[in-house]
Symmetry: C2
Subunit: 327 residues, 2 copies
Amino acid sequence: MHLLIIGAAGMVGRKLTERLITDGGLGERPVERLTLVDVVKPDHPADFSGRVDALDVDISQVGQAEKLIASRPDVIFHLAAIVSGEAELDFDKGYRINLDGTRYLFDAIRHAHEEDGYKPRVVFTSSIAVVGAPLPFPIPDDFHLTPLTSYGTQKAISELLLADYSRRGFFDGIGIRLPTVCIRPGKPNKAASGFFSNILREPLIGQEAILPVSDDVRHWHTSPRSAVGYLIHAASMDLDAVGSRRSLSMPGVSATVGEQIEALRRVAGEKAVRLIRRQPDDMIMKMVAGWAPGFEAKRATELGFKAEKNFDEIIRVHIEDELGGQI
Amino acid sequence: MHLLIIGAAGMVGRKLTERLITDGGLGERPVERLTLVDVVKPDHPADFSGRVDALDVDISQVGQAEKLIASRPDVIFHLAAIVSGEAELDFDKGYRINLDGTRYLFDAIRHAHEEDGYKPRVVFTSSIAVVGAPLPFPIPDDFHLTPLTSYGTQKAISELLLADYSRRGFFDGIGIRLPTVCIRPGKPNKAASGFFSNILREPLIGQEAILPVSDDVRHWHTSPRSAVGYLIHAASMDLDAVGSRRSLSMPGVSATVGEQIEALRRVAGEKAVRLIRRQPDDMIMKMVAGWAPGFEAKRATELGFKAEKNFDEIIRVHIEDELGGQI
């Protein structure tokens, strides 16, 4: 199989690439070729015997998506996006990358389909930002999409396009509404949601972390490992069961910040918990108040998507995958 | 006030123009200027003392929307669209007019806003095609959007853009999900939904009409007069009460075809009913099976939008507005 990963240099893209190489295949079929694409050239993976093309391509530039589709990859993972905060600050950039880029890609596939019947699987990463307050808890699968950010709007629009292009038979699309990925590896970043990871990741390596919200804030999480698991399953599952409603809220772990901290205490002890410094931030608290507390994810669970059962597991996954299994 | 009507040559556009001239104003404010736009030049209205510009402009062509916004109209009615059937047959044309056209218009307003703080009211006609089967009856206001046509997809995307551009403060947008307009005046057309009007309009003038579906098909209707009423109310109402969920399912009349026919019998007698010829059409029956049977329209009703109470009224409105008050 030939797999194309757009957004391959990002955290999820890199982990997906690693996992595909480790597995050696997708479902029953061996992976022979990887095309890794991002706006910066992705690294060549070390231990893959097949062909790899690592390309710096911006699909939001007219004509670029066609080049990627010319080689007719069997599966396309479309992970590329401007994140929430940046899409809110730079209106034009957000719409260009998150909407136009997606549409150029989908149209390039459509034109290839019209040319020779090409019909790949397209796995698109959407987001829980497609819903907006007021929100019930848990949020049912058929809750209406009322995004309150430009990022969420762009993802909701892309979901609609994915469904329509799939319905017309141009490709087999499936949209994955990723929970907030926690614990994000690496350095603390400036994303407003960063503290959910920071308050666990930093104490696990003996560093202080700042908690800008109160302990009763409830949110919806998944580990990087599960996020990659969703994508793999979406790429290999039977799509007949999905029907016309092509985007799925993924299973995840709903937890309050207080419950996150209790899990940290159980896994890493009081010493770790003491490294969390409470420093309330009104702006972040206001933003977070509108975020999703958790989803039912009934359809996705029935369709075989899996996540951790609780935050202890999420922390253990981080220790296994990022800290060599010990703290 | 200066009002811009895009799609002014269509049935609803013409009736809206007439009504605005008859009323002489919008809410408390007099209408001094009308800019009437369509892909074919709209007719100059006869009895309007203010300034009228009638223009043939296609907003789906780059740079055209800017020309319309240059004069900074106070209210913009965006009614222009490729209809459902055509958008399904011509994929590119549907997306160009119904999506790109809308986005060019919204961006032209945004750029004007960034230039000088311009912030008009934007009234956008959406459609009940934003929902798709399986559908409950009645459909609640917060039912999720799962369009099953490219037209419905384009309208749902435009609703998302309307909400985001309004949230960012570029304009004051409101989206109106029009029920199927019945009785459409004029000749029978080829729209799959045309028979809902045909089976009433033609018998009322002594002509035969073909009914391609069974009597128990239930659908959601409003008169042309009420459709115009929604637009007028949307243009003049206080938008604070609408909040972030900017598109509203309008009130209407839910009726089966059998109930439509009974109303015809009450209003125009057995002679009219006998002009309906049953000629089942599998393709139309299949399409209609996925259409909306009716909406709760609770929010819109609370916000002051009004429709007929039953089909007898809808037929009487047609007789008053199109047949000089008698049959």
